[in-house]
């Protein structure tokens, strides 16, 4: 047997995992090889020394310390969990508020854009747009917005046309209302548009009466 094989078998011998044939061959080799015999002897004695030491004892309150540590771990976990829940709730709340705010802004913007006379590309959808070719002056184009209501009432430029009316009023003879400002202000809802329409009807009635008065005076 060669030394290399013998040195490997020494460990199997120490572990008690050597068969009889290998044990005999190893013993024969150790009988003639001093180096291997010295190594085997040294290993055996050093490990024997190791196995003689007394085990180290942990602290006598070890079990109590483990329980204490466990209790601290549980508290830390519950504190961490509570803290995390608060954090998550706060972020949920903030997120919900932000989302709600964004939604309100989007809805309001969409609504205003749908009602606004100012549209990218030049104005309202063509189906609802009608141009009056009698501007008040050369610089103020007049546009009638029919909208979705039955009566078209919103006018930029100061003129009003109601459904069923035969024609435009004569601007020169009738006191003009600042409808631009009024229109902008009451664009918020159909109710506001309805109110405007009603007011304008009253205006028309008054103007008609005024005309009659004027005609009567003449």
């Amino acid at each position: 047997m060669r030394c290399r094989r013998a040195k490997a078998l020494i460990f199997d011998f120490i572990d008690g995992m050597i068969n009889d044939r290998d044990r005999a061959a190893l013993e024969e080799h150790l009988g003639v090889c001093q180096a291997c015999e010295k190594q085997a002897s040294g290993l055996s004695r050093s490990l024997d020394l190791l196995h003689r030491i007394t085990p180290e004892q942990p602290d006598e309150n070890f079990a109590w310390k483990v329980r204490l540590r466990l209790a601290k771990e549980r508290n830390a976990t519950s504190d961490a969990a509570a803290s995390e829940r608060r954090w998550v709730r706060s972020w949920n709340f903030r997120f919900a508020m932000s989302a709600a705010s964004a939604l309100v802004v989007v809805i309001a913007t969409g609504y205003f854009v749908s009602l606004s006379e100012f549209r990218p590309g030049g104005g309202l959808p063509l189906a609802h747009k009608e141009t009056i070719h009698k501007p008040l002056d050369t610089t103020t184009p007049v546009v009638v917005h029919r909208g979705s209501a039955r009566g078209p009432v919103l006018v930029s430029g100061g003129d009003v046309r109601n459904r069923g009316e035969s024609g435009l009023l004569k601007e020169d003879s009738v006191p003009r209302l600042d409808r631009n400002a009024l229109t902008q202000r009451y664009l918020k809802s159909k109710a506001a548009a309805y109110r405007i329409r009603k007011l304008e009807q009253q205006v028309d009635v008054l103007q008609t009466q005024l005309r009659k008065c004027e005609v009567g005076d003449k």
């Binding site: 120490i14 050093s46 004892q57 070890f62």
Partner: protein, 209 residues
């Protein structure tokens, strides 16, 4: 009532480690106390031989038991409970040793660089001034052996201590360390040679412990 709890405890003591940890997973703290009692000595000695000082060993051993309790629900009966516990402890020890390496200014009990294979060339033999005399007591022997174990490179030391101190089988060591069986055998044998070379001068001088 005291008799009932005494009987209950006696019943628990009759259970196997695996049954006890399953009960721990169900919230039975009495089962956990018994497991701590059964394994504290073995686990403490393993960790102590690995890290070198009692304070760290106490702390890490406690932490290993706490982790075992917290993760009791994750224990699978395919492995022995002891193997699982040693795995937890081994990971904690490795993390602690790595942390100590990152802080070289911290003095470790294992003050010599002994975590590489080249450590064989740098092996310092035991200081002759520290050699116990012929009337050495157990305590001195323990200290000498403890120093000798500390000189073994860490990657060999783990398997060596589990085999020679804790008497685990090669298969259990392989499971606890995550190494292959052949690697475990190889590392244990190399550690034995390291240990022999460290302790041999004492043996040659004929010091009797």
């Amino acid at each position: 009532m005291f008799a009932d709890s005494f009987k209950e405890k006696a019943k628990l003591k009759a259970l196997t480690d695996e049954d006890l940890i399953l009960r721990v997973a169900q919230g039975e703290n009495g089962a956990f106390d018994i497991l701590v009692d059964r394994f504290k000595l073995r686990l403490f000695n393993y960790v102590f031989r690995m890290v070198g000082n009692r304070d760290d060993a106490e702390e890490l051993t406690q932490e290993a038991f706490v982790k075992a309790y917290i993760h009791a629900g994750k224990y699978k009966t395919i492995a022995k409970f002891s193997t699982w516990l040693y795995t937890i402890a081994t990971n904690l020890v490795r993390n602690r040793i790595r942390a100590k390496k990152r802080r070289p200014q911290v003095m470790s009990l294992w003050s010599r660089g002994n975590d590489s294979e080249d450590a064989e060339k740098q092996l310092d033999l035991i200081d002759p001034g520290r050699q116990p005399d012929s009337r050495s007591n157990d305590r001195e022997l323990s200290e000498v052996i403890h120093d000798a174990i500390g000189k073994i490179p860490e990657k060999y030391r783990t398997s060596f201590v589990l085999r020679e101190i804790n008497q685990l089988s090669y298969e259990e060591i392989a499971a606890a360390t995550g190494l292959k069986l052949g690697t475990v055998r190889s590392r244990i044998n190399r550690a034995r040679n390291y240990f022999r070379k460290i302790v041999e001068p004492l043996l040659e001088r004929g010091v009797d412990f």
